[in-house]
């Protein structure tokens, strides 16, 4: 089992708190720290320039891998993205897990960067082709619908050969299938229930097999909201307020997804969320909830959302610690 820590942000909005979390994550034995890309003020995430801050992670750590979930490929030129990623891979000594996503969670970014949402599927496909060529080919040119690149040699080349692992955030079924066909890992969002995840996993692995990807290098990375405290009751008491505040006020896109899942906002309830997708509780409860995912979905890579921007930094650090010390050791860690 691999454990990634999704670095969402902190209540204070301070990058220095985040750096502290990242150093602590390495000390606690997480495999990866993962960050996303978010522009402007849209509530939750605060990384408009994810590779720039990831370079600080790289300088502060020596072992932990640095993941992206994800760069919004349609918002930037693929050559910039390839260069940023390769630079980070070199600086971190080959610790980058590259992650791509088709579209931003907000529409404003697509308007500002003049990259219409309806082009984003094709742009994702083209951009990934360009990026892989930039990383692996000494010289290349590219002629796509959106990107036309004369013969160039892009530097630096990444340290990892042939190139850093690639994952794609799969919100839609279409993107999930795209990732499986192309041989990319897929990142699955935090609000899917176990029956939904089962279906997702079946589709992904079936298509992946049909496309003759042997599965050795690809993973299904499942994201979950996690909070650990001494007892189940205490955990719920501590996290209910911050979590509901997060859903209701700070994560408009997540709220919209939950409304479409539960029909209406009136059907939102903390207990229901805990039952369906949140792993909140004592180390024992959280361990058994993870085992449930292992047994039903074949979970092997868990992306942990352990920090919310509505949660006090101190509580977040405490929950990370309990998770690392009392939950992670219950699973076989592989290499």
């Amino acid at each position: 089992m691999k454990f990634g820590l999704f670095i969402m942000g902190t209540q204070s909005g301070s990058y220095h708190d985040i750096l502290e979390q990242v150093e602590y994550a390495e000390e606690l034995g997480f495999d990866t720290v993962v960050l996303g890309e978010r522009h402007f003020s849209h509530g939750d995430l605060l990384y408009p320039s994810p590779f720039s801050i990831a370079a600080a992670f790289a300088a502060r750590t020596t072992r932990i891998r640095i993941g992206m979930a994800a760069r919004v490929l349609s918002l930037d030129h693929p050559l910039h993205i390839a260069e940023d990623a390769a630079t980070l891979d070199v600086l971190s000594g080959g610790r980058l897990d590259f992650g791509a996503t088709r579209a931003s969670l907000d529409e404003e970014s697509h308007i500002v960067f003049q990259s219409p949402l309806d082009e984003s599927r094709c742009r994702l496909k083209e951009a990934l082709e360009v990026i892989v060529k930039a990383w692996t080919e000494e010289q290349f040119s590219y002629e796509g619908l959106y990107y036309k690149i004369p013969e160039v040699s892009v530097y630096p080349k990444p340290t990892q050969k042939p190139h850093p692992p690639i994952s794609v955030v799969a919100v839609s079924h279409e993107t999930l299938i795209f990732a499986a066909e192309k041989g990319y890992s897929a990142v699955i969002g935090a609000i899917r229930s176990i029956p939904e995840l089962k279906e997702t996993a079946e589709s992904y692995w079936r298509v992946s097999q049909e496309a003759c990807h042997n599965g050795a290098n690809v993973e299904l990375i499942i994201n979950r909201f996690i909070y650990v405290s001494d007892t189940y009751e205490k955990a719920c008491r501590e996290i209910e307020g911050p979590f509901m505040d997060f859903i209701n006020n700070r994560a408009p896109d997540l709220k919209a997804a939950l409304i479409s899942k539960y029909g209406t906002e009136e059907n939102f309830s903390f207990d229901r969320f805990v039952n369906d997708f949140c792993l909140f509780g004592s180390p024992e409860t959280v361990t058994s909830r993870i085992n449930e995912l292992v047994n039903n979905v074949g979970l092997s890579n868990l992306l942990c959302s352990l920090n919310l921007i509505t949660l006090e930094h101190k509580l977040c650090m405490k929950s990370m610690e309990l998770f690392a010390k009392d939950v992670m050791p219950n699973f076989h860690r592989g290499n």
């Binding site: 909005g13 990058y15 750096l19 522009h39 402007f40 003020s41 605060l46 990384y47 408009p48 320039s49 590779f51 720039s52 801050i53 990831a54 370079a55 600080a56 790289a58 300088a59 502060r60 930037d76 030129h77 050559l79 910039h80 260069e83 940023d84 390769a86 630079t87 980070l88 070199v90 600086l91 404003e108 308007i111 500002v112 960067f113 003049q114 000494e138 010289q139 990107y147 036309k148 690149i149 004369p150 160039v152 040699s153 892009v154 530097y155 630096p156 080349k157």
Partner: protein
């Protein structure tokens, strides 16, 4: 006098060697380290390290303690100004306010324009508009813009730590670009591959425009970049640089010719030695710098110790001789602080 270290990289050494040169500059009292933005460049043996200057800058800010981190320069038309504003602000925060941002129009390279899908005729307007957008993104809570970049009531975050915003520098040679920079009151960063005569002339013109624009031009400190190599003796310095600097000139892009206003084949070692570079023993190097100080009122010198063609060990040795025997004399005359720049 302020002293900067221009980080270029070396053909025979690793990125970590370069980081070690930067650590050394931080520890030994250099005021700044400067990175640049370059794309592609197979002629640097695939060791172009500068395609993502903000990523490198953020890393560097975490392995250094006090040195300022300059980008000389971001090529504004190649990227969206919001990306540049966001990236710069991120680095400024991560480095606790140590970012200096140089900007340039694009300069030399048609390939850059084609690769990033920019029309050649657009670069001047993009450059000027991008500058405006970046400043707004940093300093205004919400703003709109209508030009190449169309922005409606956007609120860009995070904001930089330095207020009102990180110091900016202009890198450029064309009269229009110089005029634009002077209009904004920006210090001009003068490229290393310019003869002393051109540096002097450019600075005179630039200072004159600043004056016309009613800036207190005497408070604007213009950094001048020079290639340097310090060895135990002049003879050794010449021996050890001849091949290195000529190799650099021959491999480097046509930009060198543009900056020298000379066709590449007319660039001889003799010319470089006399007019462009500072190669010699510590006394000789000091004398050359003092000379420049008197002629052009030099208050900020950015030194390039490596031109891709000097190996890491020699580069460190030359830096060592410089910090030991040259820098102390220059630091004595230092009177200005960062806040005097703008």
């Amino acid at each position: 006098m302020k002293i900067g270290f221009y980080a270029t990289g070396s053909a025979t050494s690793s990125h970590q060697d370069l980081m070690n040169q930067i650590r050394y500059a931080d520890e030994e009292g250099f005021d700044s380290v400067w990175l640049r933005e370059r794309h592609f460049h197979p002629d640097h043996h695939g060791r172009n390290f500068f395609s993502s200057p903000f990523v490198a800058a953020s890393y560097i800010s975490n392995i250094t303690k006090r040195i300022r981190i300059g980008i000389g320069a971001r090529l504004l038309p190649l990227d969206h100004p919001i990306h540049i504003a966001e990236g710069a602000a991120t680095v400024d925060i991560i480095s606790n306010g140590r970012l200096d941002l140089g900007i340039a129009r694009i300069g030399e390279n048609e390939l850059y324009q084609n690769a990033f899908g920019i029309e050649a005729g657009e670069t001047r307007d993009r450059f000027e508009q991008s500058f405006e957008v970046i400043i707004k993104a940093w300093t205004e809570e919400r703003f709109s813009y209508d030009g190449f970049y169309k922005l409606s009531e956007v609120s860009v975050h995070p904001k930089p730590v330095q207020k009102p915003h990180p110091p900016m520098y202009l890198v450029g040679i064309s009269p229009e670009t110089l005029r634009f920079g002077a209009k904004q009151g920006l210090p001009l960063l003068l490229a290393g591959a310019q003869t002393a005569t051109i540096v002097k002339k450019t600075l005179e013109t630039y200072r004159q425009i600043l004056k016309e624009m009613r800036y207190k031009q005497e408070n604007v400190v213009h950094p001048v970049n020079r290639f340097i190599y310090v060895a135990e003796t002049n003879k050794k310095a010449i021996e050890e640089t001849k091949e290195a600097i000529m190799g650099f000139i021959h491999r480097a892009s046509s930009a060198i010719g543009n900056f020298l206003f000379l066709p590449k084949e007319k660039v001889t070692y003799d010319l470089l030695f006399k007019e462009v570079c500072i190669f010699g023993d510590p006394d000789y190097c000091l004398r050359r710098i003092e000379e420049m100080k008197n002629i052009i009122d030099l208050r900020y010198l950015i030194l390039t110790f490596n031109y891709f063609t000097v190996c890491h060990e020699k580069c460190l040795k030359s830096m060592e001789l410089f910090t030991k025997y040259v820098m102390p004399h220059l630091k004595k005359s230092s009177a200005l602080t960062a806040s005097d720049c703008l």
